[in-house]
């Protein structure tokens, strides 16, 4: 009799739900309109707390909370002063790049203050009405730019509808469903496993599903832009999931489409496509992510050595591609 493969049977005991580091990339922080000039607040992101602020002239900053001087939490009692954020403890001031610009006492400036930023801040920018920050575990500068998204940056498109959902898993796990075509039939109830094409190019993943029904790109772990086309009408979804902690993410999405006259057939169709992306739309036989994906994400464990069969999507190529975002930790056996 053949000996049984015990690893197969027992491995799940030692598996983790989310063995991944926080990935590198551009990530959504907050909506531009919800941060006023002179405002400052604490946000949880990338497995730690940060202080988000907007200077009087409108520049956004996202900094580590703890003052390099004596460790006070700048987000508790600190203030925006002109173009700087000021620590409450001794009024040391920093610009949005983390350079110390003012120490209101002391005749000598510590040399490192002139040499480099001393407060960790993340490169930040505003695009599509959203605030973005670049996360890299070793504070490296951005290695790619956010793409142009005409549907969100040019006139002729409706004000985006937005949604946000907390998920108890990591981004790699969420995005893996994008290349798991078989689950669309069984979990979502699609009529069949849709044909799909996936290509990987640097930090970008291209997906073309069901012969042009869903076409889009992922730009690193923090931004996906997908176009859904039915009967000649296209709706655009951008998803911008945030890694809150290693095991907790916040999914965020904006949906838009071209402006169509009120009461037109085109408008009805465009709205239906958007409804279908999210949940269940009338007359559709498959379910959007909201109604079915969470139960899996919130309870699964990650198998670094999954048992795949023919008919599964390019899961392993996706994972190999995703490793580039674990800067310096690509060799972890658990991922």
């Amino acid at each position: 009799m053949a000996t049984i493969n015990l690893k197969m049977l027992l491995e799940s005991q030692s598996l983790e739900r989310c063995p991944f580091p926080i990935p590198t990339g551009w990530f959504f922080v907050d909506y531009s309109e919800s941060l006023k000039a002179g405002e400052l607040r604490n946000v949880e992101l990338f497995d730690q707390e940060w202080v988000l602020f907007r200077t009087e002239s409108g520049k956004v900053g996202l900094t580590d909370p703890y003052c390099p001087h004596l460790g006070a939490h700048i987000g508790h009692g600190g203030a925006v002063v002109g173009e700087h954020i000021r620590c409450p403890f001794h009024h040391w001031e920093y610009d949005t790049a983390g350079w110390c610009k003012h120490i209101p006492y002391g005749k000598l400036t510590p040399p490192i203050v002139k040499k480099q930023a001393i407060l960790r801040t993340l490169p930040a920018q505003e695009r599509y009405g959203l605030i973005w920050a670049w996360y890299h575990p070793a504070c490296e500068e951005p290695s790619w730019d956010l793409p142009a998204i005409p549907q969100l940056e040019t006139p002729g498109f409706v004000e985006p509808r937005r949604g946000t959902w907390p998920v108890n898993t990591a981004i790699q796990e969420i995005a893996e469903n994008g290349v798991d075509f078989a689950h669309l039939k069984f979990l979502h109830g699609a009529p069949g496993i849709p044909p799909a094409e996936v290509n990987f190019e640097d930090h970008i993943i291209h997906i073309d599903m069901a012969g042009g029904y869903i076409v889009g790109k992922g730009y690193g772990p923090g931004l996906n832009v997908f176009h859904f086309t039915q009967e000649g009408i296209t709706a655009t979804m951008i998803s911008y999931t945030q890694p809150i902690t290693a095991e907790r993410s916040q999914m965020n999405m904006s949906f838009t489409h071209a402006e169509y006259p009120e009461g037109s057939k085109e408008l009805v169709m465009a709205k239906k496509i958007v409804d279908h992306m999210i949940g269940q739309a009338d007359g559709e036989d498959s379910a959007g992510f909201e109604s079915v994906d969470f139960i899996v994400w919130n309870n699964k464990k990650y198998r670094p050595n999954p048992l795949l069969c023919d008919g599964d999507g390019p899961i392993l190529r996706y994972r190999e591609w995703f490793k580039q975002f674990y800067s310096g930790q690509e060799q972890l056996e658990t991922i």
Binding site: K107, L108, T109, P110, P111, I112, K114
Partner: protein, 107 residues
Amino acid sequence: MPDVRVTGRDGQEETLQGGEGRPLMELLRDAGTGVDGTCGGMCSCGTCHVYVANEWIDRLPPRSEDETLMLEALAEVVELRPGSRLSCQIELSEALQGLAVEVAPDA
């Protein structure tokens, strides 16, 4: 135990003993010479500036970049000399027996 010959800001000379394995800054600070050593050896405060006697300059390990930059910042407020050093960067050892330094003026 190394002896260090110290000239104070008032011009008075004294000999300090001990401190082997510790920075010269601590010996001077604890002896009440006016050296503060506020930053504890980070080269960020400039309060432990001394002038090392000429014959000792080449017998000390060279200045690090951080020390050099702090001394450059000090130059804006006090006199710098070839023997200018941050005493927090000089570790006392038998090899420095007889080291002679003058405490530099307050910034």
